[in-house]
């Protein structure tokens, strides 16, 4: 664990170094990529709570990522076109203020994770995997067939939503906003993991029956973890829409669920910074392989299979072992 902490310091260093380099060498694309890593990292940190710490294999986190994304897209779409969002029972208009959008995105994704969790957690094992997948897919098909917000073509919002006193269109400023949320979600995870509640959901991963037998209502614990996990992922979705100034059904596609899961596994499960490292590795792979060949996903698939078959503990785990041997 001490070694992991040492690595975490390096990760923090890179989080500051990379955008600084971007500014010095005047490469805004670099900063945008780093922002993407940070946002996808947040999504992974959300999933990691349910998957890595509580053992809930959700293949449906794209649902929450997409909901956060669509809430943001829809609110700012209405603000842009000056239309009311709905007129009954209260007339509500859209908004392009991040400070208003975030709480709404958080609330809506919490609500959806609550409903989906309530239904899915009645089952376990393979059923749980398939049902979370199916619910995400349901929202995906809904987003395609609902014509008001672009349907299959998606929704463009042209301008990033605004934050008081900050020019969000500046890549570095937006990076800082995303970085804040990353640190915040890491902080929340850390606090949760070390709390009594965190002990109980980590114990559920080990042996649910035993946790039940000491009198903890495991269903409630799992549901709460699932909701927190989905909400963090939803927040990442909200930032992702702002990053791209665009949201489309692709964010709800089950490939997104798979990719978020890949971040968690690549980095190393149940490690606080694991998903961030996983996301960074994924984006780096996409960029380098993508520049050599159009069929980069083929190689990505191959690398993933090799990692799963032979390097179970992920990238951070790999370093962990090496350093232990050197000692």
């Amino acid at each position: 664990m001490i070694i992991e902490k040492f690595f975490n310091k390096w990760i923090m260093f890179f989080l500051i170094l990379i955008p600084t380099c971007g500014v010095i060498f005047d490469e805004p694309y670099f900063i945008t990529l780093a922002t993407k890593v940070v946002i996808l990292g947040i999504a992974g940190i959300g999933l990691n709570l349910a998957l890595g710490y509580c053992g809930l294999i959700s293949l449906g986190h794209a649902a929450f990522f997409g909901i956060g994304g669509y809430v943001t897209g829809i609110l700012s779409f209405h603000a842009l076109n000056d239309e009311v969002l709905f007129s009954w029972p209260l007339a509500v208009s859209g908004s392009s203020e991040m400070l208003i959008i975030w709480p709404i995105a958080i609330l809506v994704s919490a609500l959806f994770s609550f409903i989906i969790g309530l239904l899915s957690l009645r089952t376990s094992g393979v059923y749980f995997i398939m049902i979370t997948l199916a619910f995400a897919q349901m929202l995906y098909f809904f987003s395609i067939s609902w014509p008001n917000y672009g349907g299959e073509d998606g929704l463009s919002i042209y301008m990033r939503n605004s934050f008081p006193m900050v020019n969000t269109m500046d890549p570095l400023s937006f990076y800082m906003i995303s970085l804040f949320w990353l640190l915040f979600s890491i902080f929340i995870s850390l606090r949760l993991i070390n709390s009594p509640f965190g002990m109980s959901f980590q114990a559920i991963k080990q042996n649910e029956e035993r946790v039940k037998s000491v009198g903890i209502e495991t269903f409630k614990v799992k549901l709460l973890v699932f909701v927190i996990s989905g909400t963090i992922t939803g927040l990442a979705g909200s930032l992702y829409t702002d990053l791209n100034r665009f949201v489309s059904p692709t964010v709800l596609d089950w490939h997104t669920s798979g990719e978020i899961m890949v971040f968690v596994i690549l980095g190393g499960m149940a490690r606080l910074y694991g998903p961030l490292v996983g996301a960074a590795f994924f984006i780096a792979l996409e960029q380098t392989l993508g520049s050599y060949t159009e069929n980069w996903q083929f190689w990505l698939g191959l690398i993933l299979i090799l990692v799963i078959l032979y390097a179970r503990s992920g990238i951070l785990g790999l370093f962990d072992k090496k350093l232990k041997h050197e000692k």
Binding site: I129, M138, V262, L300, L304
Partner: protein, 315 residues
Amino acid sequence: MKSPKTNNSLMTLILFFEQLLNGIQFGTMLFLMSAGLTLIFGVMGLINLAHGSFYMIGAFSAALIAALTESFWLALLASLAGAAIAGVLIEIIIIRRLYRRDHLDQVLATFALILLLSEGVRWCFGAFPLYLNIPNVLNGTVPIFDNIIYSKYRLFIIFMGFLIALGLYILITKTRLGIRIRAGQNDRQMISALGVDISKLYTIVFAIGASLAGLAGAMIGAIQSVEVGMGEPILILAFVVIVIGGIGSIKGALVGSILVGVTDTIGRIFLPELLKVFMESSNATSVGSSIGSMLIYILMALILIIKPSGLFGKS
């Protein structure tokens, strides 16, 4: 003379019947997918996300052979053979190592396999969709009752689906291989202790599942188009089917498939019509089609509330 109203309701009835048949046709194809999926899970305990890739491989094998020989029947055979060969190879190289792993590893490895296979097929065949032609014998329509005509090819699909369901039933209940498969479902260690070559049995089961998916891909490929990623939507529907039917149960897969196929087809057509009674027509169409696309998932949620282990699943 018939009044316009009865005429109208007769039309609705005909439309309903046609859509019912379409739903059953869709359901039989879902059955080919979900039977393999549920068999593989039941016997090997493997959750295989890459099952849709065999659907795609079957369709591409068929399109390739159809282009070379211009025979639809050879193409169907090729779909079975192509998917089975791919199934055997992939089982031996990769899947075999996953049986002992937990579900998470299986999900990730087979997810990675999808990326690899989809991109591999795109590499070989290009990004443009291919087309498979329906043979002349099956082109056109046949009258079923007085007023109802229906596509011959779709009837053929329904027929094939039920034929294969029957074949699977005989295979599982009456043959030696079937006994081994059932024994494998019940107690893996015991049957390997009794001298059954378990890894060969697993390869065979995997190949059967893959070839059924491949056949479904070829048959649907002739109605739609043969393209990369064609297996994914149907894969997820097959998941819904086996969740509804109960994982590991072939009977459940059959009932679930027909249920999902019919609900999906009928819902998409009739829900907008139904909603027109309550709201204005353009709204009804958009709301109806959006809810129609969610209907099977709502069905799944309802069944889960009543019976969390599916209709025929062991709790």
